[in-house]
């Protein structure tokens, strides 16, 4: 068993940090894990990308080969589109729908969404709305993980444990809001 995830978004969205939730849950399940991300200048409002690989055998490359990702988890729709070449046939895309237009040549957002809808296995989620419903607008990323939970080779309880672990130092209110966001996400893509 191997499972490869491309996580993508825009610098400053803080999206990539949720890859830790999935990585910790995978390690708790006894899988080998490699995770790769980009730092530095490219973090400043540009594209940000993390690769997360898990397997019951040792993982070799920290980078996912093209056409092999089982899941693209995107925090912004144009970024989802950018990494489609990494998706394997039959793989899933779970993407937030809110465009982040910090560039002058951002294409028509409807056209971006239309392109994504053409891809079998693409699930478009209003992660911001889910997070607000859960009571914490900043939990959109965790809501998105919830929406992707059914594809992951991990138990929901393991993901919840990792969420608790990650947010524990921020207090119970933040932990609870994130657990609710995760649950709202799961319900959005049952």
């Amino acid at each position: 068993m191997k499972y490869d995830i491309v996580l993508c978004g825009v610098g400053g969205q803080g999206g990539i940090s949720v890859s830790v939730v999935i990585a910790r849950a995978a390690m708790a399940a006894g899988l080998d894990v490699k995770q790769s991300e980009v730092h530095g200048m490219s973090q400043r409002g540009g594209e940000v990308l993390a690769h997360l690989r898990m397997s019951d055998k040792p993982v070799a490359s920290p980078i996912i080969p093209r056409a092999s990702a089982d899941l693209i988890l995107a925090f912004e729709p144009l970024e989802a589109l950018r990494y489609v070449p990494w998706l394997r046939k039959g793989g899933a895309i779970v993407t937030a729908t809110a465009p982040l237009k910090n560039m002058t040549n951002y294409p028509d957002p409807d056209a971006v969404v239309a392109e994504l809808r053409k891809i079998p296995g693409a699930v478009l989620v209003d992660a911001d709305a889910l997070a607000k419903e859960a009571g914490n607008a900043r939990a959109a990323n965790v809501a998105l993980v919830g929406a992707a939970a059914k594809y992951l080779p991990l138990e929901a309880s393991a993901l919840e444990a990792a969420i608790k672990d990650l947010f524990a130092r921020k207090g119970d209110a933040v932990v609870d809001a994130n657990l609710r966001a995760f649950e709202h996400g799961r319900r959005a893509n049952p």
Binding site: K34, G45, S68, E79, N105
Partner: protein, 538 residues
């Protein structure tokens, strides 16, 4: 043994502590920054070496000062590490090359993080080539486990052979995480024990000639060690594969498919230690019909293998076009080089997504500084704005279009000065506070000494911003006095509020200094938005 999930940078930091590190020095630079950040975070939490002793972990003004501090710690008999990004090694090149000649006392490990693909750099130079230039041994880990293990090994090797060891990593290893087995208990620190007074640290010509001979004499031992530590697995006679460092993982990623297609695995030599193990390379090549070299960065091994005379078997790699000469290696490029077909994915979207370039944060003080400068320069159709390394390099892009050059740390002031001396006026040097402390001050001294008609605009955001807001080596409050101390006329040292609310005053002050026929310094002060957020989150 414990297991931890570590980035390559973290694995090196932990390896150093477990090796009995006494002192580490660095200047921030992507992708090496997290080595020092990890050491400092450990020290802050009270981490010690096995003997319960604390270790020193300090940011320095630049890579050269960091390197020299590490040399001093080695002279004192203690284990020292200096870490930097690849271009930082250029700054530290003087102590780096000479340190190979002295009789290293406490183990000295030089960690250099290369950035093939230039994720966050001005070039993609390969530090293995600089290690060879300095006749210094180089270790190149293939994963996070080796990053940890080789750091310990490098300290041992350094003390045994009385030579610094360069540990070369790349961005992808530095910034990816994997599970690492680490020692439960490390080694104690060396006691303070000054280097023997045998002239071996005094590189005056008569001594240096002897030390150079000594270094050349050690090469056979270095090479023998690299031969012993590289691994050769004979298999197919049709193809031999050489991998170096992290490239091993891209090869492994494709091996199963290769075996399925070809029926057998290639013969394989993996190199993690330099100087290049020429004997093992000859042994591999004697038994295969052709050889493919897979390495990230320059074709260092491939070039050595080719030499200048015809090779008895075809050598494939970056120089023959099987792999690209530039950019970062990845599993797909290696797949193609192995002759495997592309994986078939989903059809490409009909809408090619335009790139999303990095940009200054919302509310960044640099944006306001650029606005003031551009307005002040309006009355000069001909002018030069030379800039430097930092977030403000993004001032080259729209909507700012405010800077015209970015070459190396500190070059802004030197270039603006040289252009002015050559008759192009007015010239402005835009430089951040951290870059000014790193390499700007000596250029400003030149400008003062020659009375150059140029204006230095220091963007003082009170941090090293681009690498994630590390503290600068001097506080903002001392910058003005420092500039005056370097000899700039106090009447032409202006401190501005780098904020929209002070736009008119800033434009006026910059105009006045542009009109001043000698050296002038304008300091735009406002804390970096990221540093502010980071401080508040504490």
């Amino acid at each position: 043994m414990n297991t931890e999930t570590l980035m390559g940078d973290e694995a090196i930091a932990l390896g150093a502590v477990h090796a009995g590190l006494s002192a580490a020095f660095a200047y921030p630079g992507t992708p090496s920054t997290e080595i020092m950040e990890t050491l400092q975070a450990m020290a802050e939490k009270g981490a010690t070496t096995a003997d319960g002793a604390k270790f020193v972990a300090q940011w320095c003004a630049n890579e050269k000062t960091a390197y020299e501090s590490a040399l001093g710690a080695s002279y004192a008999g203690r284990r020292a590490m200096v870490s930097m990004k690849h271009v930082g090694l250029n700054v530290a090149a003087d102590p780096f090359v000479n340190s190979a000649l002295i009789r290293i006392h406490g183990g000295l490990v030089v960690v250099v993080a290369d950035d093939p693909g230039m994720h966050s750099s001005q070039d993609e130079q390969d530090s293995r080539a600089l290690a060879a230039f300095a006749r210094m041994p180089c270790f190149e880990p293939a994963d996070q486990q080796e990053a940890y293990d080789m750091t310990l090994e490098a300290f041992e090797f350094s003390e045994k052979h009385e030579v610094p060891v360069l540990v070369r990593i790349t961005t992808r290893l530095a910034h990816s995480r994997a599970v690492v087995k680490v020692a439960a208990k490390g080694r104690a620190q060396n006691p303070v024990d000054k280097a023997p007074q045998d002239m071996s640290w005094i590189l005056m010509p008569a001594v240096a000639r002897k030390r150079w001979k000594a270094l050349l004499g050690k090469q056979a031992d270095f090479r023998a060690y690299a031969e012993e530590r590289s691994t050769l697995a004979a298999a197919s006679k049709k193809l031999g594969v050489v991998t170096a460092g992290l490239a091993l993982q891209y090869y492994r990623e494709n091996l199963e498919d290769f075996v399925a297609a070809e029926g057998e695995a290639p013969s394989h030599l993996h190199i993690g230690h330099y100087p290049i193990p020429a004997g093992k390379l000859r042994e591999l090549c004697a038994n295969v019909e052709k050889v493919l070299v897979i390495e990230d960065g320059y074709p260092v091994v491939e070039e050595a293998l080719r030499g200048v005379l015809p090779t008895p078997i075809p050598v494939l790699g970056k120089m023959s076009g099987e792999l690209p000469l530039d950019g970062e290696l990845n599993p797909d490029l290696v797949r193609a080089a192995l002759g495997l077909p592309e994986r078939e994915g989903v059809p490409a979207p009909g809408l090619p997504p335009p790139g999303r370039p990095p940009q200054l944060c919302v509310g960044c003080p640099h944006a306001d500084s650029f606005a003031a400068l551009k307005e002040a320069l309006l009355e000069y159709p001909t002018h030069a704005v030379n800039s430097d390394i930092g977030c403000y390099t993004l001032g080259a892009l729209a909507p700012y279009n405010a800077i015209e050059s970015c070459v190396d740390m500190g070059a802004s002031i030197g270039m603006a000065r040289g252009a002015a001396e050559a008759g192009l006026r007015p010239t402005v040097a835009i430089i951040g506070d951290s870059t000014f402390y790193h390499s700007g001050m000596s250029n400003l001294v030149d400008a003062v000494s020659h009375g150059t008609n140029t204006t230095v605009y220091i963007l003082d955001n009170q941090t090293t911003g681009m690498t994630g807001a590390q503290p600068t080596i001097a506080p903002s409050s001392r910058l003005k006095d420092l500039v005056i101390g370097l000899g700039v006329d106090p009447a032409h040292v202006r401190v501005l509020d780098a904020h929209k609310r002070s736009h008119e005053a800033s434009v006026k002050a910059i105009k006045e200094e542009l009109a001043h026929p000698g050296p002038s310094v304008v300091i735009g002060v406002r804390v970096c938005i990221e540093a502010y957020k980071k401080e508040r989150a504490k």
